[in-house]
């Protein structure tokens, strides 16, 4: 019996388990998936919880519901990976698993302790994150009774998963406070390490204009040094102080601790991975998918989905002694919720920045690229259903894995 071992049973790991269970002969292969958490979180839904669009029950389901019956699920923390010996050690019962092929899908997590003072007294009182269910729920409780003041959203450092989420948060906050009738009592500030609204020029300028229209102030090139809870200010390395009444932080994002413990990560504990084949740069039977990989594209569920077919094909090729194909192009596409039941869609890859146009059918859409439309908003809301019912199960989606220029204009 040969073993395919999947580490992490979140978005990417679940998709790989489902796809691979169709491809591998159960008489020859056993597939094992390990995760320390029995609950699957629909992370894109965290964004909506502070604003009462979703409640916590909308974003959680048992992980086991999504694994195929011929895959063994082990509920345990992964202690260490020993890639030179093709072995992984688990915390539970000190179990060790020898593998023939390993898929790393351990995602990324927030590490607020990386920022001085962030988890001091005010943490989850008037300092929040919304990248965890606990953080988003605590923020919801706070905003319910908030009478207004200065809300500062700070991104500590790039890269972060879903790099558009901070913008969406601000757009939704603008809408939410309008609805509550207190928008005139709320100042919204975006302190970002980026030089503007987004990483790529065209999208940055369009999204930057939207921030301006919605009266959201931008503090660009802002590298946070510390949170000074006593004075209620954040301070940057170049000594800029930004005062807040409520601070919403997107803390430093890093790969799983097990990557670090195993000495397999870069300076942020992401795994060095070939940008186009998704094979580990150091071990040929180790493959990496989703947020855990250090590839220079967005960390997003949609990206994990576009990686999936390339990863599966390349692993199957490798099992037959063929070379992997460099097919992954960094394709990402993200719905950006812009408030007032509107949304924007962006579509890009390693080489081509987000451009205006129509998606997925050139000329028709129904989604508009880099432009606000109600259809884009409904796309985002529908995404939750698609995520639970199609995406996780490795079902077919009406999009190509590789980006296309059809239907776009410069």
């Amino acid at each position: 019996m040969k073993t395919l071992l999947i580490l992490g049973g979140g978005t990417a790991g679940t998709m790989v388990a489902n796809k691979m269970s169709h491809h591998l002969d159960p008489l020859e292969w056993r597939i094992i998936i390990v995760d320390e958490n029995e609950t699957h979180y629909y992370q894109p839904g965290f964004l909506f919880i502070p604003f009462e669009i979703y409640s916590p029950s909308d974003v959680v389901k048992p992980k086991r519901d999504f694994y195929p019956s011929n895959v063994e699920f082990v509920h345990s923390q992964i202690e260490i990976i020993e890639p030179d010996d093709n072995r992984v050690r688990l915390t539970r019962d000190n179990r060790a698993i020898d593998y023939d092929y390993l898929v790393i899908a351990t995602g990324s997590r927030i590490v607020p302790e990386e920022t001085e003072g962030l988890t001091d007294n005010g943490w989850r009182e008037n300092v929040f994150d919304f990248y965890t269910l606990e953080g988003a729920t605590a923020l919801n409780r706070f905003l319910k009774f908030w009478k207004g003041g200065r809300l500062v959203l700070n991104v500590a450092e790039m890269p972060i998963k879903c790099p558009v989420a901070p913008l969406e948060f601000l757009f939704l906050a603008d809408w939410f406070f309008h609805e509550r009738g207190i928008r005139d009592k709320v100042e919204l500030v975006y302190a970002t390490p980026l030089p503007g609204a987004f990483t790529k020029p065209k999208a940055s300028s369009i999204l930057g204009d939207m921030l301006k229209d919605k009266n959201i102030l931008v503090e660009p090139d802002y590298m946070i040094m510390e949170v000074d809870h006593d004075k209620s200010v954040i301070r940057s390395y170049d000594e800029r102080e930004v005062p807040y009444d409520v601070l919403v932080s997107v803390p430093v994002n890093m790969g799983s601790e097990v990557i670090d413990r195993s000495g397999m990560g870069n300076e942020l504990s992401f795994v060095p991975t070939d940008n186009h084949t998704l094979q580990s740069e150091n071990w040929e039977n180790v493959w990496v998918i989703g947020d855990a990989a250090d590839v220079p594209t967005s960390k997003a569920g949609s990206v994990a989905h576009f990686m999936l077919d390339v990863l599966i094909e390349n692993m199957l090729r490798h099992m037959e002694g063929l070379d992997p194909l460099p097919k992954f192009d960094g394709h990402a596409n993200c719905f950006i919720e812009s408030g007032f039941e509107n949304g924007i869609l962006i579509d890009f890859n390693y080489d081509v920045e987000p451009l205006p146009g129509k998606y997925p059918l050139p000329g028709f859409g129904p989604f508009s690229l880099l432009k606000e439309s109600p259809v884009n908003h409904w796309g985002k809301m529908m995404f939750r259903w698609i995520y639970w019912n199609v995406l996780l199960k490795g079902g077919e989606m009406p999009f190509e894995s590789q980006m296309t220029m059809a239907g776009k204009w410069n």
């Binding site: 450092e157 890269p159 590298m223 390395y237």
Partner: protein, 105 residues
């Protein structure tokens, strides 16, 4: 493409003043660019960072990020901001004759 004179040599630079060809770089040019960026003297610590960045770019094909510099040199972010005020990653990339560090997506 614009050109600019550094330490007696004419260099091609992009619209933000970054050298187009990192191969044309030498230490005199670094000193000249640093002066333009408001750094009058390059100390040992400055050079340590520059050398790390040159090496990192040779290995990885791109100028390193702030975190790569701090974890690679052992110099803290705070010290780095003292050495290269305002945006250190960008500033040191420029002085090292490298392209602008890619904004992460």
């Amino acid at each position: 493409m614009t050109t600019k004179e550094f330490a007696g040599a004419t260099m091609e630079v992009n619209e933000e003043g970054f050298l187009v060809d990192p191969q044309m770089w030498n230490k005199d040019i670094a000193v000249a660019i640093a002066k333009e960026e408001g750094i009058d003297e390059l100390t040992e610590d400055h050079w340590k960072v520059i050398e790390f960045c040159r090496q990192s770019a040779t290995d990885n094909g791109a100028a390193p990020t702030l975190r790569q510099i701090t974890s690679g040199t052992g110099i803290t972010t705070k010290e780095l901001f003292k050495l290269y005020p305002k945006g250190p990653a960008k500033k040191v990339a420029k002085i090292s004759g490298l392209g602008k560090p890619e904004g992460c997506v």
